[in-house]
């Protein structure tokens, strides 16, 4: 075939492709009107559902306008409207939404969907049932699903259904290869607060490094004294990251014994840990430790020196006295102390300490 022949062929193929694409696009544009109509239908259904929630008619078993409005929608649309509303409700209102969904057959349908071989069906079903707060053993089984999105979603569900078996499965997700699963598992355990304390205390003694770090992260946002013994132990034995996290746990939850551990951590070989210890002592307002913090003004790491300077400022008058002493003594520590004091003097009203 000649070049011209090839180009002629290309023109024909392109013309056909263009016609097909334009036809599809035209279809979308015209059918796209359905998008607006759908929005209108959804708005009506949402309003009817809210009305049903406020009147409570559907809780009594009356199909009512809400069910009729929701029935006018496709299954996906009805699911979407109910999920949207469920995000803002709990208690009796959520129960009303569940009864609406049940009368539409959505709950049975999605419970069956949990066992589907299709990922999208399992995921959609798990998300919808989670939003509506539906209890089902099948969702708990999804904590071991082969797909990470489904496992992560099941972990979200577990926050509202914390049985012993469920929590064990969530704990296993702390060392999941997928980041989403690890995040949702941590988030679920953090939200459970004291209900997760026994499990987390056990996990802090785990031999799996990933699980220990994740547990410390949760403990750091939990402010629960139950974690202090484990944190004190890990402050001496864990990895640098774990030791730094342990300092945060000790700062937020620990008593006088924790302060002793934090003081010891000022001599940690890793700068990340020393920084965490300095900040933790300042956060606890442990002014008797001020001389130890002041010693860190001569730390080899500039980040530790800076944190120590700022920590001394936070410790108030004893810290400022030590900063002035250090400034007079000179050296690296003196330079940092001078800098911190300059910032302090320039930002403090006259007459303040």
């Amino acid at each position: 075939m000649t070049t011209t022949g090839l180009v002629v062929l290309a023109v024909r193929v392109l013309a056909a492709a263009l016609v097909a694409t334009f036809a599809t696009l035209a279809g979308f544009v015209v059918i796209g009107e359905r998008h607006r109509r759908r929005q209108g239908r959804r708005a009506r259904a949402r309003a009817a559902a809210v009305d049903a929630l406020t009147t409570g008619s559907d809780a009594r078993g009356d199909a009512g306008p809400a069910v009729r409005a929701l029935r006018a929608l496709t299954i996906a649309e009805a699911r979407s409207v109910l999920s949207e509303l469920a995000a803002s409700f709990d208690g009796a209102s959520l129960a009303t939404l569940r009864s609406l969904a049940a009368s539409l057959g959505l709950i049975d349908r999605d419970k069956a969907g949990l066992r589907s071989r299709r990922l999208s069906r399992r995921l959609t079903a798990a998300r919808f049932l989670t939003m509506l707060g539906v209890t089902s053993d099948d969702i708990a089984r999804l904590l071991r699903d082969r797909h990470p999105s489904v496992r992560a979603q099941a972990a979200v569900w577990a926050a509202a259904h914390p049985t012993e078996q469920t929590l064990d499965a969530v704990a296993a997700l702390l060392s999941d290869p997928d980041g989403r699963c690890r995040f949702e598992a941590k988030d679920t355990l953090a939200r459970l607060g004291r209900r997760a304390t026994p499990l987390l205390t056990r996990l802090l003694a785990s031999t799996d490094a990933g699980t220990v770090t994740a547990s410390l992260e949760i403990a750091a946002v939990s402010s629960d004294p139950a974690y202090v013994p484990a944190a004190a132990r890990l402050a001496r034995a864990g990895t640098a990251v774990d030791r730094a996290l342990a300092a945060t746990v000790l700062a937020s939850s620990g008593g006088p014994a924790a302060v002793e551990t934090l003081r010891d951590m000022l001599d940690d070989p890793h700068s990340v840990v020393r920084r965490a210890a300095v900040s933790a002592l300042a956060a606890r307002g442990d002014w008797p430790a001020a001389p130890l913090v002041a010693a860190r003004l001569d730390d080899p790491s500039s980040a530790v020196r800076e944190d120590a300077g700022l920590a001394l400022l936070r410790l108030g008058a004893p810290g400022i006295v030590l900063l002035r002493d250090a400034a007079r003594a000179g050296g690296e520590g003196g330079a940092m102390a001078t800098l911190v004091l300059e910032v302090h003097d320039s930002t403090t009203p006259r007459g303040a300490p």
Partner: protein, 488 residues
């Protein structure tokens, strides 16, 4: 004339035309691959994000802290509303770091007054060298708002100063004239949660011209009414919906728009921060990926199509020309700085696929297009090419251009469907049809100008004029562009 030219010139012309033809076929074959890749990627993304509840995540204490980096230079008129919009972003652990880059107007005074700023003792270890920072303030009304006043040093310098002060694990540089959708940040954080290998994530930028805004939010998504903005709207859809999405599966993106992108802070500081160049956003991404390969560190750069930021597109040819000229100078500069990546197997998909494609397809395209048109005209003049062939070739080139734009519109319709009005959709189709008749040739000219400018060593940004966004009918305040810092 042909007899006078002799067979040698004839052979040269035919060979040149053939080379251009081969280039055309290869480039368009690559676009076809990119289209398929983006369709597959979009399908998977839609499936994964369907019915995903972001409500719970927004109240999580474990989400990574995000610092928004906002450079400001002489932005007294707009800085207040820009920051108010940022402060209302739906993200629980948000810090906003504004750097007043030596403004000569009352930007800083206005910030101090509006947000009740107090000087604070923030020293911050400064891993990145910048012009001196005079003072740091924190807002008493919004404790997560930090403002630094520094000597003028340009946009990259201001971003680096903000980076020095930022405390978030992730940082987000916000460009001028950008409106970020309320929930966009939460979606953009997703890749960082899913994988520890991700160092940067980009989002979709859409053209805001024609949209109705209310208190710094786009409340009615409309297609632009003016031809120039409309043509850019189609371009943006094509670039983001099938360009960048497609690259996710073909070796990763080389560009994250400076208008809205999220980065891991330690990777950014370890790589040296923002470089002082006109294409600092692309240069940064290429550097991050390059260093990742060289140091055996994570370097995944991903693109997420559904978080959206809206930007104001230039409405004047001269302004648009300056922008495109600058973009191509930035591209040239980045490709030149990192030229050792070209076809270098040490850098894996980056060196063997992404980088060469950017050189041969993105950078070389205006040269090839200009040379192709010249050769075609010469061929016609000297009788080397006959008129029907030239006409057919033009039809193929035009047809493929329209096909790509149409597919982008189709992907938009099939996935996000942001333009609810039929009239808007039809208008976009119209712009897709006429885009290749004149507008594209203009962009070729501007990009060629950019290449020449790069060769001559031009480094200025060029002034950008902005019209501002359309306020809502209720008479609310128009969304104002965020601070812009042009090189001094």
């Amino acid at each position: 004339v042909t007899d006078l030219l002799g067979p040698f010139v004839r052979v040269v012309l035919v060979s040149f035309d053939s080379a251009i033809l081969v280039y055309f076929v290869l480039v368009n074959a690559f676009y076809a691959v990119l289209t398929v890749s983006s369709a597959v990627e979009l399908r998977q993304h839609r499936r994964d994000s369907r019915a995903d509840s972001r409500v719970r995540a927004l109240s999580s204490e474990l989400l990574p802290r995000v610092s928004m980096l906002v450079p400001a230079h002489n932005e007294s008129a707009t800085i207040e509303s820009s920051l108010q919009a940022l402060l209302t972003l739906a993200y629980p652990r948000l810090e906003i770091v504004v750097v007043d880059d030596g403004s000569r107007d009352d930007t800083l005074a206005k910030l101090i007054d509006t947000f009740e700023l107090s000087a604070v003792s923030v020293l911050a270890e400064r891993p990145l060298p910048t012009a001196p920072v005079a003072r740091v303030y924190r807002s008493r009304r919004h404790p997560n708002l930090l403002v630094a006043a520094k000597a003028n040093g340009g946009k990259a310098d201001a971003l680096n100063a903000a980076l020095n002060l930022a405390s978030g694990e992730l940082v987000c540089a916000v460009d001028a004239d950008t409106i970020i959708e309320t929930g966009a940040l939460r979606t953009l954080v997703g890749p960082f949660i899913r994988s520890g290998d991700v160092v940067a994530a980009g989002a979709t930028i859409r053209v805001a011209n024609g949209c109705v805004t209310h208190h710094g939010r786009v409340v009615d998504e409309r297609a632009p009414r003016t031809p120039l903005a409309g043509l850019q709207a189609v371009e943006y859809l094509r670039a983001f919906l099938f360009g960048r999405v497609g690259w996710n599966r073909l070796g990763g993106n080389l560009v994250i728009s400076g208008a809205f992108g999220l980065f891991r802070r330690d990777s950014l500081t370890d790589s040296g921060g923002y470089a002082r160049t006109v294409g600092e956003d692309m240069e940064l991404v290429v550097r991050l990926r390059r260093l990742g390969y060289e140091q055996g560190r994570p370097c995944k750069v991903t693109f997420v199509p559904d978080p959206v930021a809206w930007t104001e597109a230039p409405e004047r040819l001269a302004t648009l020309g300056r922008q495109r000229d600058r973009w191509h100078r930035g591209l040239s500069d980045t490709l030149w700085r990192h030229r050792r990546l070209f076809l270098n197997p040490r850098y894996g998909a980056l060196g063997l696929i992404a980088f060469p494609t950017y050189v041969l397809v993105e950078w070389f395209a205006p040269i090839a297009e200009a040379a192709g048109v010249t050769a075609l005209l010469l061929g016609l003049a000297f009788g080397v090419i006959d008129v029907p062939f030239a006409l057919l070739f033009f039809l193929v080139a035009y047809g493929f251009g329209v096909l790509l734009s149409t597919i982008a519109l189709l992907l938009e319709e099939a996935t996000f469907c942001r333009y609810g009005h039929v009239g808007d959709r039809l208008r976009l189709v119209l712009w897709a049809l006429v885009e290749n008749l004149g507008y594209r040739q203009l962009t070729v000219y501007w990009r060629l100008r950019g290449i020449v400018g790069f060769v001559r060593g031009r480094t200025e940004w060029g002034a950008m004029e902005r019209q501002g966004f359309t306020p809502s009918k209720e008479g609310s305040v128009a969304a104002s562009p965020l601070a812009v810092v042009d090189d001094p």
